[in-house]
Point group: C2
């Protein structure tokens, strides 16, 4: 399967509105360093699946009938805001697989338009075309799932945002699911105290060391992480990489 | 004062996602016919005021400190969705004048970031720089204000979306406020039955005939209105015009 990181930012993006730090200045000067709302496109011969809908131009990037479905990690605005426009479209319903959050976001459930919200059960696999997908509970301030995605030929990719650490059942699932590749929330540079809703760099590495994927990409990055990386020139080990908007990888 | 129609569409925009009607096909082929979320920029020597925040790229169009304030008509997503991103910015607070809607939209009040929401009282004027602005109650499915905007030199402009007809107190205000120019909701082509939440063409003209502005622009337009205009080749009288994205007028 092919993964494209369509967005790699935490809420606020890079550059951050009004920020003049070195990472934000660089992103304004060099668009390849810009980061849009965290999301990824999963493609196989049979399906084209968008993970999260925070990109505000998804209606332009993905014309009608070009997506098989959208899978949401959770209903915070920076992960669903592209749906506010898309929903008013015409034509076939678009399946939106999502956690069973009773509130959703604003009036998306009430005025769902062409969107067909399908609530998922944690750790209960479902299929979209040739993909088998298992929702993994994450630790966040709103009901959130990561996803373990597997092709018929056995390629495996885990997408884990937004989270701080991992619940034990998700950790156990991933430990028994090897070998696989992974994208993991890394919203903060190393912090002394455990952050509240997102991994810092240390927590992301701790998860990686425990579940031991073959390859990991750090995503849901902020201007603070980019600035820290610029300042420290932090080198990643060969099985680890920073995600970047537009980066495409084969799993 | 100078008015720029930064967006002239109802929810869904033109082209509408997945629609192949003649208006939507034309808008895809000829970008000058595209319509983005209804909004307008009001500029004087002293202020730069954005009416509504549904444009999903306001953080790119209007860099930090380039807007004096934002004034919201109401909290439907297509009028506020650009704030979801903007709020996480850094620096000075941005004043968001708005109706006293207790709910707002999603978590905008709870996580307001750099936004400073300021609730307005109907028919009670407030000042921003050299502008005097009076909130006018409108008829809509959510608490909604139109705005009567006046410069120190006496130029007057009324911005009236989203509404179906006008409440009597707003009608009386405008009748005694002449002479002025106006932008008015025209979401539907002529309908046999009175529409629920937005003017059709007939209701827009009825309001215009009652309050008698010097010049009116029809806005909050949909692909249905554009198609009807293409089919009927409807000619407007000289004191009336279709708004268009990017159109700039002097009041």
């Amino acid at each position: 399967m092919q993964i494209t990181f369509t967005g790699t930012a935490g809420a606020g993006g890079v550059p951050l509105y009004g920020c003049e730090c070195m990472a934000c200045v660089r992103a304004r000067q060099q668009p390849e360093h810009q980061r849009r709302p965290c999301s990824a496109l999963v493609e196989t011969d049979q399906v084209r699946l968008l993970l999260d809908a925070g990109l505000m131009d998804i209606h332009e990037r993905f014309p009608a009938n070009s997506l098989t479905a959208i899978v949401l990690t959770h209903f915070h605005a920076d992960h669903v805001q592209g749906l506010f426009h898309l929903r008013w479209g015409k034509g076939a319903k678009l399946s939106i697989f999502c956690p069973p959050d009773p509130e959703g976001c604003a009036d998306l459930y009430k005025n769902s338009g062409i969107l067909n919200f399908l609530h998922l059960e944690a750790l209960k696999s479902f299929e979209v075309g040739d993909l088998k997908i298992t929702p993994l509970p994450l630790n966040h301030s709103k009901l959130t799932y990561g996803y373990a995605i597997e092709t018929e030929s056995g390629s495996r990719f885990a997408y884990l945002t937004d989270t701080v650490g991992l619940p034990e059942d998700s950790m156990q699932f991933l430990k028994s699911w090897r070998p696989f590749s992974m994208a993991i929330d890394c919203s903060h540079p190393p912090k002394i105290n455990r952050p509240a809703n997102h991994n810092d760099y240390n927590l992301a590495l701790d998860i990686i060391n425990k579940v031991r994927p073959q390859k990991s990409w750090l995503t849901h990055l902020t201007h603070e992480v980019d600035r820290w990386q610029m300042e420290t020139k932090c080198k990643l080990s060969s099985n680890l990489a920073w995600a970047a908007d537009g980066l495409t990888v084969q799993i």
